[in-house]
């Protein structure tokens, strides 16, 4: 038996595999952004951070041959960009939405510039965890090749959820995000917590970028990210600022993105572009269906998005 014998059964299988592959960057970016927004800031520039992370990871993997070092480098680049956004937005009268748009432009431009020499060479990818080794079915094996960043991201999402609800730092961060006045009354510095939260969000987005360039599609190109950074910001609303739900959100939207290539692999290429737009349509429909989330749904009170 070979892959083609699976026929239409290959579609749900490919979607499952695709959900994890495509969903991993979305999981990472939205999880980081959830923390940033919990502190009362919104960073729309994660699209730029994602691309910078992807470029840096590919460059380091190519130069050093060690993909794990590359993931660290991507996180570091993301962290630096997050600190930049956090610090600049701590200045009075600097708008976080506008700064995010500006950093989106600057980050993607810089990534394309520095990434020019990386389009040709091939760098080592992250090794995957082969859960499908029990079967000879190549399609099943491909779907069950779980990438390690998805596993780490899932674990981290639960850890982040726990930390926001139980650790001293997490609780204080939420106070800062819900009421700046309450935070000041407690003697906390809102700016410091927000810079830290934005830095964490940036580092996560950097790792998300590494997942793009080292796992799937697994190479550096200028068409690598098509708005995943922005989609992830919308997904945070869908996930109700809950890091655990970011896993589900990432998988759902990863699956939606995988439909189009899965159908094309079967030779069904009509409406290719329309199917490709499915994740954006789905995001929009969910945003419309959910309406404006209130504080009882986890929406941070200081977030400019909600005021």
């Amino acid at each position: 038996m070979d892959a083609s014998d699976l026929g239409w059964w290959g579609v749900p299988l490919a979607i499952l595999g695709g959900a994890i592959r495509v969903g991993t960057p979305l999981l990472w970016v939205s999880m980081g952004e959830a923390v940033t927004e919990k502190a009362g800031r919104i960073n729309l520039g994660l699209e730029g951070t994602l691309l910078m992370g992807a470029m840096a990871a590919y460059a380091v993997a190519y130069a050093s041959g060690n993909p794990w070092l590359a993931v660290l480098a991507a996180a570091g680049v993301g962290l630096a960009l997050g600190v930049l956004h956090g610090v600049l937005c701590s200045l009075p009268r600097v708008n976080d939405t506008a700064m995010g748009i500006a950093l989106m432009l600057a980050g993607s431009g810089l990534a394309f510039w520095l990434g020019k020499p990386l389009i040709q060479p091939s760098a080592p990818d992250l090794p995957s965890i082969a859960l499908g080794s029990f079967t000879e079915q190549p399609a099943v094996r491909a779907a069950l090749d779980i990438n390690p960043l998805f596993v780490i991201g899932t674990v981290l999402a639960f850890a982040v959820h726990w930390a926001l609800g139980h650790s001293r730092f997490g609780l204080r961060l939420r106070v800062v995000g819900d009421s700046e006045n309450a935070a000041r009354a407690l003697g906390l510095s809102p700016s410091a917590y927000r810079v830290a939260a934005t830095a964490f969000g940036g580092a996560c987005a950097g790792v998300g970028g590494a997942s793009l360039s080292l796992v799937y599609p697994g190479a550096w190109s200028e068409a690598l990210s098509s708005g995943q950074g922005v989609m992830a910001v919308a997904l945070v609303i869908f996930a109700r600022w809950d890091a655990r739900r970011c896993i589900a959100a990432g998988l759902l939207f990863g699956g939606a993105s995988a439909i189009s290539p899965a159908l094309q692999a079967l030779g069904y290429s009509q409406g290719y572009y329309l199917f490709g737009a499915l994740p954006y349509v789905l995001t929009l429909v969910l945003l419309v269906g959910l309406g404006k989330p209130g504080p009882s749904q986890g929406a941070p009170g200081e977030l400019s998005l909600n005021r």
Binding site: L44, G48, L88, L91, P92, R93, V94, N95, T97, A98, M99, I101, A102, L103, L105, A106, G107, S108, G109, L110, F112, W113, K116, S226, G227, V230, M231, V233, A234, I237, Q270, G271, Y272, Y273, L274, G276, A277, Y280, V281, T283, L284, L287, V288, G291, K292, L305
Partner: protein
């Protein structure tokens, strides 16, 4: 981008009666005050980009010289610059007009491609009609397509409180998918083999150059629309109502203004400008709707509107400046081998510096002498 300043500067009230020396001094101080943050941002941008260029192993002075000569050096450079500035003015307005009503729209790229597609499709239907009929119809089709598209974002914000910044960008990706689907299938010209494209417009329907200039009429359209928007905002009750609705929606509702209609209308007007930009690009530059239309003009428009501090008149000079920088990109690539992304980096740095320097606005130490 010092050209952004006068839009707000001269409105500040100063001491003394109009015309006196004290009044003039106060006006100048106010203008300088408004220009100061933009000036600082310009200096920061120049320093940052010079450092980046030097780090990449290029001569910063040579790069700046090429940017100046490639964008504004001679008649040919100016022609190239103004050609690019025409759609940029319109995409700048696409961000600036909704901003008047307090809406941050960043999806002009999608409205532009849909506008271009609508104009190209209609242009082929009207292929034998006279240009006097076809051009207004194509412009209207483009404006309508773009306007309706961005109106969705305005409506979603109004009815369901969906953040318009995010929704407009998602809509932009959806629009580009729709555009690609149409160009690849139903509207595809069978003769376009390698690069899918709609049927080319007949030569009679291509926009000619403006008299005395080697630049197509799109520039005239851009300037005219910008001035019209400026006039409406500055001198009509509608403009005042829009500003009140954007500045303080509750007060606007209190005095009986139709806030929903005004804000959604502002979004639609912005989208219409972007759609018109697409129509102009098709009728003046590309001659058909294809992937060349997706050139990032919509994203540059965001920067232009912010730099002009959302003044419709201010959009014109800033668009020319950005158009010039973009036009110099090919010269930089040819002469020095600098990647085309370097221009995006320069614009990105300028944008970051500009937003960051907002913190200098209204600071007391600027006012000491006034």
């Amino acid at each position: 981008m010092s050209s952004a300043a006068p839009a707000v500067g001269l409105q500040a009230a100063g001491p003394g009666a109009p015309g006196t020396a004290a009044w003039l001094r106060a006006q100048l101080a106010a203008a300088a005050l408004a220009a100061a943050p933009a000036g600082v941002a310009l200096v920061i941008t120049v320093l940052l980009f010079s450092a980046a260029v030097a780090a990449a192993g290029f001569d910063a002075l040579e790069v700046w010289g090429l940017i100046l000569s490639g964008g504004f050096g001679d008649a040919f450079a100016w022609q190239n610059t103004l050609q690019r500035a025409a759609p940029l003015m319109l995409t700048g307005l696409a961000v600036a007009l909704p901003a008047q009503a307090g809406r941050v729209i960043i999806g002009a790229e999608g409205a532009l491609v849909l506008g271009g597609l609508a104009a190209a499709a209609l242009g082929n239907v009207l292929a034998t009609a006279s240009p006097a009929l076809a051009w207004p119809a194509m412009a209207l089709a483009g404006a309508l397509a773009g306007g309706l598209w961005i109106a969705i974002a305005g409506l979603l914000r109004d009815k369901r409180e969906v953040n318009e910044t995010i929704s407009s960008l998602l809509l932009s990706f959806i629009a580009i998918a729709l555009f690609n689907q149409c160009v690849e299938t139903v509207l595809r010209d069978p003769a376009s083999l390698n690069k899918a494209s709609t049927k080319p417009l007949p030569d009679a329907l291509m926009l000619p150059a403006m008299p005395g200039l080697d630049v197509h009429w799109g520039l005239g359209v851009g300037v005219a629309v910008a001035l019209l928007a400026w006039g409406v905002l500055r001198f009509t009750p509608l403009g005042l109502a829009l500003k009140v609705a954007g500045g303080n929606p509750r007060a606007a509702l209190g005095v009986g203004l139709p806030v929903s209609a005004l804000t959604v209308g502002a979004c639609a007007a912005g989208g219409a400008c972007a759609g018109l930009a697409g129509a102009v690009e098709v009728a003046a530059v590309h001659g058909a709707a294809n992937a060349s239309l997706i050139a990032g003009y919509g994203y540059s428009g965001i920067l232009i509107a912010f730099a002009a501090r959302f003044s419709p008149a201010g959009v014109v000079p800033v668009a020319i400046l950005v158009g010039g920088i973009a036009a110099s990109g090919s010269l930089l690539q040819r002469r020095l081998g600098l990647p085309d992304a370097a221009v995006t980096v320069l614009l990105g740095f300028a944008f970051v510096a500009l937003i960051g320097c907002e913190t200098l606005r209204g600071r007391s130490f600027w006012k000491r002498k006034a």
